[in-house]
Symmetry: C2
Subunit: 192 residues, 2 copies
Amino acid sequence: MTNARRSGPDLTEAIMRTTLELGQELGYAKLSIEAIAARAGVGKHTIYRRWPSKGALLLDSLLSLSESALGYPDTGDLLMDLRTQIYEAVDLLAGPPFSALFKALIGEAQHDPGVAAALNERFIAPQADKTVARLKAARDQDRLSPDFDLDVAMAILSGPLYFRLLITQEPLTHEYVDRILDALFTGLGPRA
Amino acid sequence: MTNARRSGPDLTEAIMRTTLELGQELGYAKLSIEAIAARAGVGKHTIYRRWPSKGALLLDSLLSLSESALGYPDTGDLLMDLRTQIYEAVDLLAGPPFSALFKALIGEAQHDPGVAAALNERFIAPQADKTVARLKAARDQDRLSPDFDLDVAMAILSGPLYFRLLITQEPLTHEYVDRILDALFTGLGPRA
DNA sequence: CAAGAACGGCACGTGCCGTGCCGTTACTGT
DNA sequence: ACAGTAACGGCACGGCACGTGCCGTTCTTG
């Protein structure tokens, strides 16, 4: 008769899975912790014990997807490595089925400092660090000018993508990624 | 004994003013239409009659500030014109006292398509168009290479700024604007 | 000056919040 | 093996803001 009550990490994972599931169905705005608890067959306490807010829960749920997925190759070909890496990230987070939830999460970060900090520490900064490290390796091997500004380069690679994703809300295609990469490395055409 | 009941445009303006006021005090998350109505001495209907949502109300409130403020000079010096324009925009929207509300508005746009569309049509696109137009003028005068990609240039100018504002949440300084402008026009250093 | 729209004030039902309490179940250390 | 404890599901609660009615009053329009 024991109803196979689940425990510990099991539950955590089940809750996160349910969060992504319900989030896709309802959208972030209509997603409620009450509904997640009901769907997951879980008491609300069990959720509140683990996460302080809906945003934190969604953050963990989404990051559990990316943690294993996003590596960073170094084949020696800088441009190709960057392209590979950015394609992966863009496909995972800006494509279906998680694009809307990821955008909502960044939205939540705009008025929840905790979410903002966690998002930075656990996703943005590591990703940026890897990009900068890959650029630095290329510079150290004299494949880039010694005065190449790594941080600005990284911002130019990321900025326009997030601009498209969050502001103009146009689709993030590989073709667009290529245009940014081209602009960064071959320049926008010399001044007359 | 007539209690000087206000009407029409008067009210609209008063509500928007109260929205900005209360928004600064409470932050967007805790800002409620109920509280705005109470503070403004107005029935909730009067607000709902004008705006469909809190986001739409905040959008109008914030845009009423920028509409008159953000011009676009053409002195002939492209770099200086861009710098002037971007400084202005950055100071107005990314500096106190409206930075937090502006960020919250963009956050709202992530799960309210209406707000997203209105934000684009009434603020982002006009601003981008002006930038592109200014760049195009320079290119037409042979101050830029004929194959200078105007749209990508515009994205490289805006993207990193929004990236800083929304993602890494670092302060948007004039110095940072300068670094982006430098990178765009003098390049990041040629490849070895 | 009459008709109607817009107004402020109030009340209502609804949904979700976050918390407290219950009895039950699974883990812990000895 | 077994007691003690922590975590669990379920339920109920007060609180708050939502969005919508209704009322009586005031302003605008023709």
